[in-house]
């Protein structure tokens, strides 16, 4: 089989085309958002929000409302609860996050277990990439485009918020509102990515690309380019591999991102464990040659 058939064969199936488009969109939007999350130190928050949306999605399914609406409501509920528990008791933030998101996640699982449905709601948990319907695709495209547009247009404000919220306040912006915007986008993006990799693995797409890009550059503007490109490439590669090896597609996408992170972690010329040593050795050789 030559390369062209290798790449084009899966595309002859409509479900594969839909899977690729959905994953690519989710990958790009998640990757953009991940750049801010890893720099603010909100990875755990990403984990929490992406799990906590589960009951919202199930309830939305039950009443026939858009998934995104239910997810948004429960994302905000989760963030509020975390803040309340942290601020009004001696429990620290990481514990508050752990308590709130696992409880809400469990609530979601309970709701799933009692909800009769034609579609298997368990797909929300592990993703159902190959079962993306046309309606799902439309929703992912709309939400993805909205989240993408807001992130790109407000990227400078969000970066300012991540870097120095006090300065943001001093020049008349509202750090509280920018933080809320970022959390809202987190909820929206979680819904986009649910479809692809499921609730459990969304957090991978919300952290790994940003962390990988962070190891590759000292410029935030480059991170915003590197992270989505790596993420999209991993997603497409992951789906092809899962097609030919007949493995779980969502998990394969995340695995691909994890592998790329590992390679960058080891070999990045700026930050990599081995890469920096190699660069040092090269410089030494160059000096030795010159003298």
């Amino acid at each position: 089989m030559d390369l062209i058939t290798l790449l084009s064969e899966p595309l002859s199936y409509d479900f594969m085309v839909r899977a690729l488009i959905t994953t690519a969109i989710a990958a790009v939007v998640c990757a953009l958002l991940s750049c801010w999350l890893v720099l603010i130190g909100w990875s755990l928050m990403g984990d929490a929000v992406s799990h906590a949306v589960l009951p919202g999605v199930v309830l939305a399914y039950i009443v026939g409302a858009p998934f995104a609406l239910g997810a948004l409501v429960f994302a905000l509920l989760a963030v509020t609860l975390i803040g309340v528990v942290r601020n009004t008791s001696r429990v620290k933030e990481d514990a508050a996050i752990g308590i709130v998101f696992t409880s809400l996640f469990a609530l979601g699982l309970v709701l799933i277990s009692v909800t009769p449905s034609q579609t298997d709601l368990n797909h929300i948990i592990f993703g159902n990439l190959l079962g993306v319907s046309m309606a799902d695709l439309v929703q992912v495209v709309v939400l993805g485009v909205v989240a993408f547009a807001i992130l790109v247009l407000k990227r400078r404000d969000l970066t300012l918020y991540a870097f120095d919220p006090t300065h943001a306040h001093a020049i008349g912006l509202s750090p509280r509102r920018l933080g809320a915007l970022l959390l809202g986008l987190l909820a929206l993006t979680s819904v986009v990515a649910l479809q692809t990799v499921g609730v459990v693995l969304v957090v991978a797409m919300l952290i790994i690309p940003g962390a990988t890009a962070y190891l590759l550059t000292d410029r935030f503007s480059w991170m915003l380019l590197i992270a989505p490109v790596i993420s999209a490439a991993c997603s497409v590669a992951g789906i092809y591999v899962s097609y030919y090896l007949d493995t779980a597609s969502g998990a394969m996408v995340v695995l691909a991102q994890g592998i790329v992170f590992a390679v960058v972690y080891l070999f990045s010329p700026r930050q990599g464990l081995i890469g920096t040593r190699l660069a040092k050795a090269r410089r030494k050789r160059a000096v030795a040659l010159a003298s």
Binding site: L39, D157, D164, H167, H169, A170
Partner: protein, 246 residues
């Protein structure tokens, strides 16, 4: 600016964090174009006073007026420049010195904060003024202690701030940079900027400041640096160990 209103008026401001009393009916009036040193030990309320002036904490009682107006007014005009304490900055953040200085312009930019030529010029001018033009493309963490401070001062200059608040600007800064920063702030004050500097680095104060304030949750004393820095006055704010150390 309205008439002869003081640049900063802090009027009997009290702030609690939960049970903790951070400021206790603190009062302070500062005229325009003056440099004032805020002296007090950790926990004396220096940071809280800054936050009250910027309108980041709402006083339980009392009020803050900037140029005779509530702080929200000068914030909307992007009039306050803020130089954070080193510990409050993520120095590994992937931004260049120029990126950081450009953030000073954001208050003047439109919805998506796209800089125009005038903004880029303001940034280059500010970098020149703090003598960091050659370092503009460095990642901010790759500057020396003094250069880092100057980068944030440049942000305030690019912003066109008429008021600068500096939190411990001399911590981790070598003598030469300290002199450079002092000269820079004196220039800005003579251009009309009002500058409030919090510090527990007392020896730098006399060259820098026109006046000094002793803070211990309330304003204990407000006068010229040589009076305020008398050992018996410092003892009030710091306890006796300062006198012992000399």
């Amino acid at each position: 600016m309205t008439g002869n209103a003081p640049a900063i008026l802090v009027d009997k401001v009290t702030v609690h964090y939960g049970e903790v009393l951070a400021l206790d009916s603190a009062s302070l009036s500062l005229d325009p174009a003056r440099i004032c040193g805020l002296v007090g030990m950790n926990g004396s309320g220096k940071s809280t006073l800054f936050k009250a002036i910027m309108g980041m904490v709402k006083p339980d009682s009392g009020r803050v007026l900037i140029n005779g107006q509530p702080p929200v007014k000068i914030r909307k005009e992007a009039g306050i420049g803020y130089v954070p304490q080193s510990e409050d900055v993520d120095w590994a953040f992937p931004l260049s010195v120029r990126d950081v200085v450009m953030m000073g312009r954001y208050g003047h930019l439109g919805f998506i904060r796209r800089p125009r030529k005038a903004d880029r010029d303001a940034v280059e001018h500010a970098l020149e003024r703090v003598e960091l033009s050659d370092y503009a493309d460095r990642q901010i963490g790759q500057l020396s202690g003094g250069q880092k401070k100057r980068a944030f001062v440049a942000r305030g200059i690019a912003q066109g701030a008429t008021m600068m608040l500096l939190d411990e600007p001399f911590a981790g800064v070598d003598k030469r940079s300290e002199a450079t920063i002092t000269r820079l702030l004196r220039e800005l004050a003579s251009d009309g900027a009002t500058i409030l500097v919090s510090t527990h680095d007392l020896h730098a104060l006399p060259q820098l400041c026109d006046e000094a304030v002793l803070l211990m949750r309330k304003v204990l004393m407000h006068g010229t640096p040589d009076v305020v820095l008398q050992p018996e006055n410092l003892a009030m704010a710091f306890g006796l160990d300062v006198m012992n150390r000399g």
